[in-house]
Amino acid sequence: MVELRLREMAKRSTLLAAATAAAVVYIVMELALDGDDHQRFWALAIEVFVLKILLIFALTKGGEALRSDLKDGTIEYLWTRPVGKAKLYLGFWLGSLLGLLPVLLGSLLSISWIGVSMGAIDGFAELALLWIGAFLVAVGAGSLSLAFSALTSKFVVFGIFYFALVEMVLSRLPTGVRSMALRSHASDLLEPLKFGDPVSLELFGSALLGFLAIGVAAVLIGALRFSRARYSIGGEKEG
């Protein structure tokens, strides 16, 4: 899956997807921005792009390849290879993350270009933090999406439901339950950028742990479900 994904990434259509994402994000940001309003830039970059668009995109796109293989039956070509199912799942996981990369990279390049040119991003640390935050959100949400796709063919609906319930509702609760949401960790990590505050190492570490916990839990649940999947009678090969 990884090799295939890497090959796909070199294709013209993938480059086109990245270029389209870059152009769309650039145009929207340019239209939405008002002069040199740095706060508005960060609000758009963090609140709109990272915490909404990227999150929804990864939650609904990350499981596409696995579900497509399960639905078409092409999963049989993989299941009958001399490789364990858990390893196969990890291949799907890496492949799904690579599949998210073109759009993520294109969008981030545009946002970074605009941020640097208007002076909202005035140092490497800010730029790096934005990219790290966006990557962590993509990895976390992509892992969740893959786990959903191992669980159900309705993984897109499930992803949107998860976004609405966990990411939008639970993340706003002032209790420990908010740590179940990727948004809460991403907010902790990226919010200081809005106000030009430095990020404390402690906050960075706890956010990283939060992402790690959600990501690992998603991968484990997905791998466990996938490794128990079997051929079942009927039209769609899913266990």
Partner: protein, 306 residues
Amino acid sequence: MNTLIEAKELSCFYGIVLGLNNVSFSIPPGITGLVGPNGAGKSTLIKLVTGQLAPSSGELKVFGEQPLNNPGLLSRIGYCPEREQLPKDLKPIDWLRSLAALSGVPWKETASRAESALGKARLDDVHWKKRIGSYSKGMKQRVKLAQALLHEPELIVLDEPMNGLDPGGRAEFGAILKELRKEGTSILISSHILHELEFLCGGFLILNWGRALASGSQLEIRQSMTRWSDEISIRCGDAAALAAHLQVHGVLRGFLADREALTVWVKNPETFLDSWPKLLEGCPVEVYELRNKNQSLSSIFERMTK
């Protein structure tokens, strides 16, 4: 090893749906045909052999090992599924390289391995640069076969590989399989296209309604059929007179006489054949030939699955 696949009281159910019901058989190396109508349990058995399903009860061993969750065993088995779905947007070489890598072939060797497999499957190299989506059915079957050959398995399991192929395509596919057999690869092939299998397979396993009706070589199956086949064809000087003579002995259930050709349906085939010389005693009709009318695998299959 004399036994490639061995099943003992093997059953597999999909919930309440029957897949295989208490079947026992053993399959030796060679080309073995898995024969049966739709719903007979052929695909279920194939999924069990390739480790995609767990038996509900009983035991299945391939090369002396259980296939479920056994990657080591899967490195000795190549599998070609029934479904036609292939990744449409990929070129065969790219797809096969990925699958070869998954099968443990070092990445540097995957290209040569993919080319060799496509060569063995006789897919002309002018098509290698095209996307699989643009392939004809026959070409897709060759790609499917090639992916099964990538890791040079000792056993290839083919689920209805000749479906949808024209007669020429079937003949060529059969020739490819014979060539693979010459190289020492064993093949388990399921099909309901029986006359192709008759010329291709050394042994058969006949399934119906999840049960194993017969297994062994064509000869063994025919012999077992002869024992209980009730339809016998006789060529003689006067069919009507011979029928009347046999009727007197009370061995017939029915007959059809047409000049020199007599077809009889006997009450007990084994007794009938054993006492045949005695039955003819005192009969003025000259008998030229006696044989079971339907000896082809197709007719055996039809009779067994009725």
